[in-house]
């Protein structure tokens, strides 16, 4: 966790936390952070995500996102056994509910600071699961921060890589494209990661000018074939398998190959009939603004993907 010691007494008129204090500067220098970066601020009783910024009068400040405030000294920290039971229940709950994610984030943060959990099965980093919770809460930059840390802890873990890639796609598409291209140079990319790369390049394809679209479309469709042939393709699950067909459908639609596009959409719906915008997708005949809107909505499949996780209390 990228943590900076902060004094929440030292607040500017705008409600920002002054970070020029010695207790804050040590962490900022150690982590090589500057204006624009995100980090967690804590006084050991509170912790909150914040973006660093320059204030003309006060110098470096943190602009807190108070939605991510967690109390490290409340009843969750005092009754660890209860908190462990609650998080174990929430993390293994079926069906998953986005409404639980703020509580998941809160409990994971408290427990990490007070009494770290043991975890069984993938993924094993709590930072990763906190990234998932933050993503579901709409805190994408903080989610990306946690996912980056999880990647350092678990290099090459396909579940972590998928989450990281999709967050990067949402926050910084050019960087996501560069990252995907670098990953794809390897001859052995797990199907889950291929799914993330397809989603990135398909998103990029939508924004590609007509003159460059053909080569981009071939690139996406080639990746989809690689995905189909991946030895572990059966392990990605129906939603993400369907997403690869949705993505190839949108590319084919823009390429004017309507019949093939409809076949891809039909296959996607067959695999994942409960997916978003099913009726809208099957009715698409031309690649227009409506189709782009539908594509954007369909890609929330990736944004809503939550991996299984069990916790040993």
């Amino acid at each position: 966790m990228r943590l900076i010691s902060a004094d929440f007494n030292a607040m500017t008129e705008a409600g920002h936390v002054r970070l020029t204090l010695p207790c804050s500067q040590e962490g900022i220098q150690r982590l090589e952070l500057g204006a624009g970066d995100w980090a967690w601020l804590s006084d050991s009783e509170l912790i909150v995500g914040a973006q660093l910024a320059i204030d003309d009068r006060y110098g470096l400040v943190g602009v807190p996102d108070w939605d991510t405030l967690v109390h490290l000294d409340d009843e969750d920290a005092e009754d660890i056994d209860h908190s462990r039971r609650e998080i174990a229940t929430l993390l293994t709950k079926v069906p998953h509910s986005d409404g639980d994610e703020p509580r998941v984030f809160q409990l994971l943060t408290v427990l990490e600071h007070v009494a770290p959990l043991r975890t069984d099965g993938p993924p094993v980093t709590l930072g990763f699961r906190r990234a998932v919770a933050l993503r579901q809460m709409g805190k994408l930059r903080l989610a990306l921060l946690e996912a980056e840390d999880a990647r350092h802890e678990r290099p090459g873990d396909p579940i972590v890589d998928f989450l990281y890639l999709d967050l990067l796609r949402l926050e910084d598409l050019p960087s996501a494209v560069a990252e995907a291209e670098a990953i794809l140079e390897s001859p052995t990319v797990p199907a889950l990661v291929l799914s993330g790369c397809i989603n990135i390049l398909a998103t990029q394809a939508e924004q590609t000018p007509d003159a460059d679209f053909t080569s981009m479309a071939e690139r996406v469709l080639g990746l989809c074939r690689r995905f189909d042939q991946a030895p572990d393709v059966d392990q990605v699950g129906n939603p993400l398998a369907a997403l690869s067909y949705f993505n190839r459908g949108f590319v084919l639609l823009r390429a004017g190959q309507i019949s093939k596009a409809r076949q891809a959409f039909d296959r996607a719906v067959q695999i994942y009939p409960d997916g978003p915008m099913v009726d809208a997708v099957t009715g698409l005949q031309t690649y227009d603004r409506r189709a782009r809107e539908v594509a954007q909505r369909v890609r929330t499949i990736a944004e809503r993907w939550v991996p299984p996780m069990t916790v040993a209390a």
């Binding site: 010691s5 007494n9 030292a10 020029t20 006084d43 509170l46």
Partner: protein, 117 residues
């Protein structure tokens, strides 16, 4: 400074967090405030209760003392720019860890009835 008036001795001083503030000790919470004084941040205003001053804090526990007690130790409290009733406990730049620790002991631990959300 935020105001030219001298704070009354009986004005209450609130520092967010649980005394003696182990998470960010007073010694490492000091810096030059843009108003031109060196010290650490608190909430202080004449006539306000501790509970009212504590509404500036998100912490569930706050430290409370008076301006008089701080002055008795040879330091001062002055209003400075910042959020709500921001003030600075002014200390010498060359003060010691020991003096900071002693100062932290005069803050009484009080539950914050309405932590800011």
């Amino acid at each position: 400074m935020a105001g030219d008036e001298r704070l009354a001795d009986n004005a209450l001083v609130v520092r967010c967090g649980s005394p003696p503030f182990r998470g960010r000790p007073l010694f490492t919470s000091c810096e030059n405030h843009p108003d031109g004084v060196y010290g650490f941040s608190v909430q202080c205003a004449a006539g306000l209760t501790a509970a009212r001053l504590a509404t500036a804090c998100r912490n569930k526990i706050v430290g409370v003392t008076t301006v008089a007690r701080i002055r008795q130790m040879g330091f001062d409290v002055v209003p400075t720019t910042g959020e709500m009733w921001h003030a600075t406990v002014v200390v010498p730049k060359d003060w010691s860890h020991a003096k900071a620790e002693t100062l932290s002991q005069i803050f009484e631990s009080v539950s914050n009835p309405t932590p800011r959300r």
